[in-house]
Structures are given as C-alpha cells and as structure tokens.
C-alpha cells in the first residue's frame, strides 16, 4: 500500500516554542485516521502545516509525493467553528461555492460543473433547502454541514476535519460519522482531530496519539494502551484499576492542584 499522504520529520515552532517535533506519519490512500491528543498537543498546528498555512522549520508534507501547493485542491480543511466570523454577509450557497474557487481562479464565472458540484455537496449534507440563508442564522450543526459541503465541493483527495465532534449534539455527530462511511467508499483520505478517545477507538481504523511528538500510530487497539495514554497526557491521565480517566479541561490549570468546576472527563477503558 503506497502512502498518499506523508509527513516526514515535521517540526513546527511558534516563536521558538515547539508545537510539533519530528512528526513522521504515513497515511495510506483512502484511510481514515483519528488524531488524538490533549489541548495544545499540536493537532491544529499539524493540519495548518498540511494545508501550507504554517511553514515547518524542518521536514515536509507530501501529497501523492508532491508538496500540497503544487496541485489543485488536493487537501480540504474544515476549520473549527470559532475560527469563522458568522456575521459575515455570505449565504450557504456562497460559502459552498468558495470550494470551487481553486478551480475557478480569480475571475472565471462558475461553469455547469461547478454549480453541479455545489448542488451535489448541498444534497449530500441535506442542506439544499438552506442554500439562500445567511450562515449566521443557522444552528451549530447546520453551520458545520455548510463547511463540510464546501470541503466536498472542492473534490479533495485529503479531507482534514478539525475537532468536528466538539460542540455538536449526538445526532449531528452520528450524521458526521455516517458521512465518513460514505466517504470511505469514495476513496477520500480523512484525518479527524478529536478529544473524543471513545469515538477514535471505536469508529476509526487508524489512530494517532499526539503530544508535540507522535507517541503512537496504528490500529486503535495498539495505540490506546495505558502506557501510551500516560505518555501523551502525563498528569492529566489517572489510572484506576484497568480504567484510564483523562482530564481534558482547562489547559494551564491541569496538574497545578486547582480544582476546576467545569472539568469534563473522557473515559477510556484500556484494552
């Protein structure tokens, strides 16, 4: 199996602070990988380096053996909700059409193929009836679907989803997992960053445990071992018998002895 997405010794630093250290990751064509790690582990940084937003200090990203910038629409990125200005005056159809801008260039008018791709993406996410609505009027789940539709309209080879399970309800989460099943049949390689170790372990064929370094990568059963989780989460992981409880709240407060009222815990049964 040839690796279609390859990160080689990827190192990214912000103002001298390391965010990613020598991450090497080979993802085979059509695979779906969950990227799991604590807050500040570099999950978003990893994605931003993959789309060319951050230039690595060392190492490189290759899609089909070539840098991402060389090709038309190889990688589509679905950002976290907080990164979008929801008051911006654009409709759902406007946003999804942006997915075609890579093919359209600066001034060429949308062709029939572009309009069809947009319509198909809207249908696939069941939001065709919202096409003319401003994005600010939508619910959280609908807003996420708009950006998923835009990513599909790009007809990408690699799809990056940044924390797609955060802040959506259970039905939106199931809908998204259903979409991933469909994409599996379409040979799109998918990387999903998430805090949700349960979903990562049960719904993905491959998982990567990240905390600046790549701690483990492979089938979930081999990745989510107590030793690996302890290494990734440090003081945030609590071992109770054969259970591992990971506290993922409040970066900066963790481990300094301050009790936090809003802590939410993700439990993971060690295999």
């Amino acid at each position: 199996m040839t690796a279609m997405l390859a990160l080689e010794e990827l190192t990214v630093r912000y103002n001298g602070q390391p965010a990613l250290e020598r991450v090497t990751l080979h993802v085979p064509h059509g695979a779906q990988v969950a990227i799991v790690g604590p807050n500040g582990a570099g999950k978003s940084t990893l994605f931003k380096a993959m789309v060319g937003l951050l230039r690595p200090q060392h190492g490189h990203v290759l899609v089909h053996g070539r840098p991402p910038g060389d090709q038309t629409d190889p990688v589509a990125y679905v950002p976290q909700r907080e990164e979008i200005d929801w008051r911006f005056p654009v409709t759902v159809a406007d946003v999804v059409m942006m997915g075609r801008y890579g093919r359209l260039g600066a001034v060429r008018r949308p062709q029939a193929a572009d309009r069809e791709a947009v319509a198909r993406a809207l249908d696939e996410l069941s939001i065709a009836h919202l096409a003319r609505r401003p994005i600010g009027e939508l619910s959280g789940g609908q807003q996420q679907r708009v950006f998923l539709a835009r990513a599909l309209a790009q007809e990408p080879h690699v799809l990056l989803l940044d924390e797609p399970f955060t802040g959506v309800d259970a039905s939106a989460k199931e809908a998204l997992l259903g979409l991933l099943e469909v994409l599996r049949g379409e040979d799109i390689t998918v990387l999903v960053s998430t805090h949700d170790m349960n979903t990562a372990a049960t719904r993905f064929e491959l998982a990567a445990l990240l905390n600046q370094r790549l701690i483990a990568y492979g089938p979930p059963a081999e990745v989510f071992t107590p030793a690996h989780i302890g290494e990734a989460y440090g003081g945030q992981a609590l071992f109770v018998g054969d259970m591992v409880v990971v506290d993922q709240c409040c970066p900066g407060h963790v481990g300094d002895g301050i009790a936090h009222r809003h802590s939410h815990t993700g439990e993971e049964k060690a295999p």
Binding site: G52, L53, D85, P89, T91, D94, M98, L104, V107, R150
Partner: protein, 283 residues
C-alpha cells in the same frame, strides 16, 4: 421645486463639486464594506492622517499635493504591513504608533510654513467647492482604478477576509491580497481628501458600509446599498451645504450618519425597533 434643485448647479464650481462628491461617495462606500467587515476603521483613520506630512512636504517642495499625499499614504500602509508581518507588533499598536508619528510630522512641517491655520483647515475638513478640473480628472481616474481592482479582486478579497485558511488551502496568497487592500485604501483616502478631508474620510468609509450591513445579507448587495447610501449622502450633503451655507464635508458625513441612525432603529429584522417588537410578541 425644479429650480430649487437645479439652482446650485448652475455654477461651474458646484458642478465640479457634485461630480467629485459623487465619485468619492461611491468609491469610499464600496471599499468601506471591507473596512467594516474587517474592522479596519482605525486603520482608515490612520491612513487619512498619515497623508499630512506628505502634503506638507509636497507643498514645501512645490510638487502636486495629491502626489505627496499618495506617497505618504502608501508608505504608511506598507509600514503597518511590515511591522505586523510576523506578529512582532499587534496591528492596532502599529497603527497607533505610525498614525501619531505621521500626524505629528505633518503638523510640524505645516507649522513651519507659516500659513498653519488656513491650510490645515482645508486638509482636515476638505474643500470640495475648490475642486479644479485637473483635480477632477485625477480623482475620477484613481476612483475608477480602485473600483476596477475591487471588481477583479472580488474573490481574493472575499477569501482573504472571510476565510484566509481556505485561501491558503487553495494556494492563494491572502497576505498579499491584504497588502493590496491597504494600497486601495490609501488610494481611496487620497481621492477623498479634497471632498471631506483627513478628519472625515473615515466616516465616509465606515458609515455607508455599516448602514448597508444592517439592511443586507450578501456582500454584493451590501456593496450596492452602501454605494447608494454614499452617493445619496454626497448629493444631499451638497444641497444642505448650499442652502444652509455650512461646510460641505461635514454636511455629507452627517447625512450619511442620519441614514445609519435610521437603519439602526428601523432596519427589518436587525433594527432596534424591529427587535423590540419581536421581543414584545409572545413566542
């Protein structure tokens, strides 16, 4: 009534003033939509004040004042881009530093020329009634160039403003696009100097766009509505200026402000009155 409407424009200088005010109202409003959406009001203000030293130097050197203004505005626009490029200095800090420095330099230079008070008033508040035919050609040419650039760069500006991450993903250069926007803003400020002056150009950039944002839901319609508000404000402002014998720049800006206040209270869905009524209705 017809006489009342045509009377002011029997005079040649009023005709030139009308053309200048309409052109400025149009170009400021259209570009102003990006100023509103990207929260760049402070930047627009800074660019406007930054032209002062350029004008003063041009005056001292005996070259065209608009050329001096243009060079100064471009230098400050690029300077802000340079200081904030790698996140070394926050944007509003960089703007504050360059804004104050340029304004001080301008005042310093103008005060050395000896005709401080009168010249400064013209630069600060504009003198649309003093527009010459040459000025008009220059204003029209620059405004046409800015509007053409906004049309050609529509997708690039939209991507860079709404979702720079997607722009990167698509292999675009949003950083360069933003630099282009700064240059367009500098050109627009210079075009507007004669009409509304350094002190009021920000209002013309921001107010029509803000009014339109209350009334529209898509960027193209927002730009169209802003353009109408800007142009109508310019024309109405000129009439007010003529019949009430008040400063034209201020009359134009206050007309635009009146449109904004009306939209703020009365706009469907987003106006204050509408929302109050909506709250009062049960369910």
């Amino acid at each position: 009534m017809i006489d009342w409407l045509t009377e002011p424009f029997a005079l040649a200088f009023m005709q030139r003033a009308l053309v200048a005010a309409v052109v400025v109202g149009l170009v400021c409003s259209v570009l102003g939509c990006y100023v509103v959406l990207r929260s760049m009001a402070f930047l627009g203000d800074a660019l406007a004040h930054a032209v002062l030293p350029g004008i003063a130097l041009a005056y001292l050197a005996g070259v065209d004042l608009l050329a001096g203004a243009l060079v100064a505005a471009l230098l400050v626009a690029l300077g802000i881009g340079f200081l904030t490029r790698h996140g070394t200095v926050r944007e509003d800090t960089a703007i504050g530093i360059l804004f104050a420095a340029a304004l001080s330099l301008g005042v310093l230079l103008i005060s050395s020329t000896g005709s401080y008070a009168t010249d400064l008033t013209h630069i600060l508040f504009g003198d649309v009634l003093g527009v010459s035919t040459t000025d008009l050609w220059l204003t029209g040419g620059l405004a046409a160039a800015v509007l053409l650039a906004v049309a050609l760069l529509y997708r690039e500006l939209l991507l860079a403003s709404f979702d720079p991450l997607l722009a990167h993903t698509l292999g675009r250069r949003p950083g360069l696009v933003l630099l282009a926007l700064l240059v367009l803003l500098a050109l627009t400020v210079v075009v507007s100097l004669q009409t509304v002056g350094v002190g009021l150009v920000t209002a013309l950039l921001v107010t029509p766009g803000a009014t339109a944002s209350l009334l529209t839901q898509r960027l193209p319609t927002m730009m169209a509505v802003a353009a109408v508000v800007g142009v109508v404000s310019s024309v109405v402002g000129l009439y007010l200026s003529y019949y009430l014998d008040v400063a034209s720049g201020a009359a134009i800006v206050l007309t635009a402000t009146a449109f904004f206040v009306a939209a703020f209270f009365l706009a469907p869905h987003r106006g204050l009155v509408w929302r109050r009524l909506g709250d009062a209705r049960p369910g």
